[in-house]
Structures are given as C-alpha cells and as structure tokens.
C-alpha cells in the first residue's frame, strides 16, 4: 500500500527564503535532502553583453544592478578595471574615498546578509535592527552621490565630486553608534542556544572543497583560508590600511556568521582610518573626453562583500566599448557549492545554507 519514494519539490523561484528567484530542485527522502540542483537564470538581463555595446563610461550603471546589495563594490571593480586597461592613475584622495565607501558598502551588504539569514532561521528582530543601521549607511551614500541603492558612485579616473559638506559628521556619528549596534545583534544571536543549534555543524564546506569549487570570500575564510584580495592583491587604498582578515577553522554556518561579524568590525576600523588619514588633493585624474582602447586585456579582482569579484575586459583597437566583458561573480561561483553543502542534511538546513552563502540573484544571473 505504501510506496517508499523520494519526493521532488521545487523550492523557488517564488519562495519566501530563496533570496530572490533562485530555484532549487530538491529530492527529499522524508525531511532529508538527497539531491539539490540549483536552477538559475530567472533574472538574466545580459549585463555583460549590454556592457559590450556601451561605452566605457556608460557601463558602470549596469554594474550597480548586478549585486544590488553592494553596488559600490561593483562600481569600484568596474572603474578600477578600466583604469587598469587604460593605465590611468587615480589621485590618492579619490582612492581613500573609494575605500571608505567600499567599506560602507561591505557593512551594508553584511547587514543585509545578517538580516535575511536571521530571518530565515526565525530571528525576526535582528532583521529590523540591521535595517536601521543600513538606513544610516544609505543616507551616507545619498549624501555622497545622491542615490541610495544603485549608486554609480565613481567615475573612471576618480570621483565626480569631492565629499559634500557635513559628510564627515555623518560618518563619525555612524562610527560612534555602530559598535553598540553590533553588540545588540550579538546579544540576540551569538550565544543564543537555538541560533547555535541551527548553525553549528550546518552546511559544512571544508577548505579543500571550497578551493576546488572556487569559493571565495567569507565562506572560504570561515574554512581557515586567509585569502582576502584586499591583502593579497591590494587595490584602492588598502595597502595603507591597517586591518585584519578574520578566519575561523570550523567551516560551518556559525563560523561564517562569526567571520562576517568580525569583518564588519574591521570595516568600521578601515572607515575610521580613511576618515582620519584622508589626504588633501584632487579627486579626479586628467582624462581624455573619449576613451578609445588599444588591443589589450585586463582582469581585475576586488574583494566584494561576497567574495572575489573579478572584471575581465578585452579592448579592441580604436573602439569606444569593450570587445569582451565578463564578470566573475562571487555569488555565482559560491552557489556551486550549495549541493555539496546541503545533500544529506535536512530541508531546514537548506535555508540556513542559502542564507550563509549570501547569494544575490541579480549577480548570479546577471
């Protein structure tokens, strides 16, 4: 009468906690996941192809819309890749301001991660607490460039404008309150028995598997590999900054949680240093009105909040737009590890694992 069979369910593309339009084909044996196949592409807009048909100046607005939670980090990678392609030197002040905004972006992105990850596991309150701080960060973005989410913050060769008046006060106010806010999140979660039960030993990804899968960012660092592009291949003003790369060795969801929290503290430290040591000078390099590329190719990697964000650009002789543009999106590569992390675990762990990978579908599908 009873057949013993696996149930196949589609989690997503419309599901409360697949963070957008991720679709997972899950095979379930009772509550245990026997197979997990992520299906992506529901948000594909062809950003790479579009950018090949736009001039170098125009492409940046499309990078905003890849990982929409960390637009500034995307802008930074794009601007620096093109500067590398054309050999443009950015003034020191501009590099400092870029670093500062990039770290704010890391905070904003990690706050969103903490919010949604907590919400997925049922910790509702932390969601609203983190959005309160994110609001302050978005205000800072707004003060700098006028927009909050899709910032298009930088220009090739530097910045469009210097910092607005009153900017420093905003930043200092934020830095004054932020450590307390971090403590607030930690009070709710770090030593919470249920939170620990839900995250310790869940979604294990050992260092060798992570490296084999090409996983980068906090997920890799939580497995004990201290690989951070800000240290390994410094860009912007990271050479001059004093910060640590937090790592853990447990390689589980809880370790990733601790790593990201520590990263947030380090980001606040970097912001403080940028603000204190902000050099005087111009913020824009001298550029020709039109950028015409030579035959050239460049790969520029930056440490986006989610991992290694690489821009690969190929120039064509005399062309106004890139011949080929490719993005190594951290979310896309990190998502590959999902089946490895969830197979054999429970359905509830799938949710925790998606949360801990911190995927943003805008970046994965591009």
């Amino acid at each position: 009468m009873f057949k013993n069979e696996e149930m196949e369910i589609n989690m997503g593309p419309q599901h409360p906690s697949t963070h957008g339009v991720l679709r997972l084909k899950l095979k379930l044996d009772g509550e245990i996941v026997t197979s997990c196949r992520p299906c992506i592409g529901y948000l594909h807009r062809g950003v790479e192809k579009i950018c090949e048909n736009k001039t170098f100046f125009q492409g940046q607005v499309w990078t905003d819309r890849m990982d929409y939670c960390s637009a500034v980090a995307n802008n930074l990678g794009w601007a620096e890749a093109i500067e590398k392609l054309f050999g443009i030197t950015v003034p020191r002040r501009a590099r400092y301001i870029r670093t500062l905004l990039n770290e704010f972006n890391r905070l904003a992105s990690h706050l969103i991660w903490l919010a949604t990850h907590g919400l997925d596991i049922g910790a509702m309150t932390v969601f609203l607490y983190t959005f309160r701080e994110r609001e302050a960060i978005l205000d800072i973005f707004e003060a700098f460039c006028g927009s909050r989410l899709t910032t298009t913050a930088f220009r090739i060769g530097g910045l469009r404008e210097d910092l607005p008046p009153g900017f420093e006060k905003l930043v200092r106010n934020f830095l004054a309150t932020f450590p307390d806010c971090m403590n607030e999140y930690e009070t709710l979660l770090t030593e919470n028995r249920i939170w620990k039960k839900r995250t310790i030993g869940v979604g294990m990804l050992r260092a060798e598997d992570a490296i084999a899968m090409g996983v980068t960012g906090p997920v890799l660092r939580a497995a004990g590999v201290p690989y951070d592009i800000r240290k390994a291949f410094p860009y912007a003003a990271y050479e001059e900054m004093d910060f640590e790369v937090p790592t853990r060795t447990e390689a589980d969801t809880y370790a990733r949680y601790l790593v990201r929290l520590e990263e947030m503290r380090q980001s606040a430290r970097i912001i403080q240093q940028c603000m204190d040591g902000l050099p005087e000078g111009p913020v824009m390099a001298k550029l020709p009105k039109v950028l015409r590329s030579e035959v050239n190719e460049v790969y520029h990697a930056t440490e986006a909040p989610k991992g290694e964000l690489g821009y690969y650009l190929v120039g064509e002789k005399g062309s106004l737009n890139p011949y080929r543009f490719h993005v190594r999106a951290p979310g896309f590569i990190n998502l590959q590890a999902l089946p490895m992390m969830v197979e054999g675990n429970l359905v509830a762990d799938v949710i925790a694992t998606i949360g801990t990978l911190d995927v943003v579908l805008g970046e994965i599908d591009r």
Binding site: P16, M124, Y129, I194, R198
Partner: protein, 384 residues
C-alpha cells in the same frame, strides 16, 4: 455551587448565555491579540507597528484612521493608534476570495479548518474563569431569573481530561487540511505538525499531571482552588518548574515560535495552510490564537493561581486579607494577558528550532523532566 437543581430548560438557557459570553470574550481577545502582536513586536523591533489601515481616507475606516491619527499626538494613548487594524484584518479575511485548489479533496479541505476551530473553542466549555457567581440574574428575567451567572460553563468532575481530549482533536484539522490540499509543502508541514503535536502532547499532559496528583481531583474549580490555597510550601518549587515545562509544551502545542514547525514560513512557504485563503485560512489563524488563550488559561488556572492573586500556591498566606484575599476574575484575565504577551515577546526574541531538534527537546528533555516532576509531586502528596 448552586444547591437548587435547575430544570433542563434553565440549564440550557444558562449554558447558552454563558457560551455567548465566552464566544464574545474569545472574539474580542483574539483580534486584540493580533493587534497586540503587531504592536508588541513593533516595539520589540524598534518600529511603530500598525498605525492606520493602509490607504483608507473615506468612509468608516477613513474616519477611524483620521481619528486614530489625531490620537497619536496624545501621550500614552498613541500606543493604541492603529487599533482599527484589527477590524481591517477581520474584514480582509472575510472578503478575500476563497480558493479551493482543483486537485484538492474538497470535503476534507472544507472540514479541516472547521475542525481546528471547533476543537479550540469547545475547550472553553470546561475552563473556569471564576469559581463562583459573577452576578445574579434579576428575578424578573424570564426562565433564568434569580439564578447566578457563574464564571464557568460546566463544572465537570473530569474537566481537565475533557480539555486535553478536545484540544488534541485540533491536530486532525492541521493534518487533514495539509493532506487535502494535495500539495507538497502543506504535506511536509502537516507531517511535521502531526509528529510534533503528538510528541508534545505527552510532556504537556504529564506536566498537567503533577497538579492532578497534588490535588487529587480533575475538577477544574477544585484544582484551581486547592493549588492556589492549600499546597504545602514544599510543593511550590514543583509548581514553578511545572509551570515552565507546561509553558514550553504550550508553545509547541500552539505552533508558536520557537516551535512553529508546521508553518515554518521560511522553509515550507506557509506550511499546512499554504493552499488556504480567505476565511478558511482565517479559521486556522483564529484557532492558533484561541489555542494560545487556552494554553494561557490552563497555565493561569493551575500554576499562576487562577482567579487568586498570587501564583504557585503562595496565595494561602494572604487569603485572610481584605480586597485581594478573595478570588477575582480580573486577576485571571490579567494573567492570561501577561502570558499572551509572553508568547509575542518570545516570538520577537528567539529563532526557530529545526524539526529534529524539536523532537529531541521533547523526548530527551521535556518528558524525563516532567516525569520527575510527577514523581516528586507524588512524594509531596504522600507526605502531606
């Protein structure tokens, strides 16, 4: 209570009056609880919660909105700004399109929410809010003139057994509803819920067994009175532990955080009621809140002293005092409200357990602990 035997007609009419009173109580408290949930969660989370019914500027709701908005300027009163939200909630549930999926089992799909709802409401037949007469009907009143209106509908000698028996029917509503939906997420939710509620019924019943052992009766009124006023001091720590155990199981029984597995919105979309809409969903929703009231009422009656002021059997030391010495229905209701607040407070504070961990909590911790409490209660009873 009343030595004079009532005629059948008098009994029926009295029961109907009392049932109406209880139903009014339920349908006032439940929407207020949903409103309180919005507000308390809001204040937990550094936001305002409901402040108006979205978008209504004209008509009755518009008028309510405008006045509520004005109220916001007053100190203290501003907390209840947004009160019309609970009316809005009810209206929404009533007028939403009621969808029955094509492939669903129609009859079961319709019966299931009703079953949940009935199981929750019928329990109130045996719950005693106040052990005596609240008021006496005037002599001129037809049929029931001169009779006392008691704070309970029936005074069964197996009251507690009845409550537990009826309450356990509720799980059928959830499982049948999930099965009848003929959809995968509800099925998973229903299975979880079946396993969870059956598991938690064991420690829940055991934790209520300790008061039964201590008092030696199943009659609701007698239990409440004896637990509040006649316990030896050594029984008090037992009642405290029993209360905590009972409340934990109660959270699981009502599918509230951190045990809201059957719904587990982040994993199973909405769990067993994914396919439900309109008032059928409303019934499940109401049943959950009514269950919260039931759990709070039982915890209040047996552990928090019921209509007597002090909890855990401490009341016997102040029994002789005027004003606060005697039972008062206000204490009962105040304690229910406090426990309902606790439900919401916990939801705002802690995350959700995983399904297997919930089972571990029940079988590895709660059942052994409750058994120990029952055993100690038996010792206390034997010694007393």
């Amino acid at each position: 209570m009343n030595a004079m035997p009532l005629t059948l007609l008098q009994t029926c009419v009295m029961a109907i009056f009392q049932a109406i009173a209880v139903v009014i109580f339920i349908f006032v408290v439940v929407p207020l609880t949903t409103f309180a949930e919005r507000k308390v969660l809001g204040y937990c989370q550094d936001r305002l919660g409901a402040t108006r019914i979205a978008g209504h500027r004209i008509g009755l709701t518009g008028w309510l909105n405008r006045n509520m908005w004005r109220m916001g300027k007053l100190p203290f009163v501003s907390i209840v700004r947004g009160l019309p939200m609970f009316i809005g909630d009810i209206i929404k549930l009533l007028v939403k399109e009621d969808i029955i999926p094509d492939k669903a089992d129609r009859i079961m799909f319709i019966i299931a929410p009703a079953l949940s709802m009935i199981a929750s409401v019928v329990v109130f037949a045996a719950i005693s809010f106040y052990p005596g007469a609240l008021f006496t009907f005037p002599k001129a009143f037809p049929i029931v003139g001169g009779l006392p209106f008691t704070g309970f509908i029936t005074d069964m000698n197996v009251g507690l057994l009845f409550v537990l028996g009826i309450a356990s029917v509720g799980v059928y509503g959830i499982v049948l509803g999930a099965w009848a939906s003929n959809s995968k997420f509800p099925l998973l939710g229903g299975l979880r819920s079946g396993a969870q509620i059956v598991s938690y019924e064991v420690p829940l019943t055991l934790s209520l067994l300790a008061p039964v052992v201590l008092t030696g009766t199943l009659n609701f009124n007698d239990m409440t009175r004896k637990l509040a006023t006649e316990m030896p001091p050594v029984a008090m720590p037992l009642l405290v532990v029993g209360f905590l155990l009972y409340l934990t199981c109660g959270f699981a029984e009502t599918n509230r955080m951190p045990f809201d597995m059957p719904e587990a919105e982040n994993e199973l979309v909405a769990g067993f009621h994914t396919e439900y809409s309109g008032m059928k969903f409303g019934f499940f929703y109401l049943a959950e809140y009514i269950n919260m009231i039931v759990v709070s009422a039982l915890a209040t009656a047996f552990f928090l002293g019921g209509p007597f002021l002090l909890p855990f059997g401490l009341h016997k030391y102040i029994l002789h005092l005027p004003l606060i010495g005697g039972p008062n229905i206000l204490w009962f209701i105040a304690k229910i409200i406090f426990l309902l607040f606790t439900f919401i407070w916990v939801r705002g504070t802690i995350p959700r357990y995983r399904y297997d961990q919930i089972m571990h909590v029940a079988w590895k911790y709660l059942i052994p602990f409750t058994l120990i409490v029952v055993m100690l209660a038996a010792f206390v009873r034997y010694a007393a």
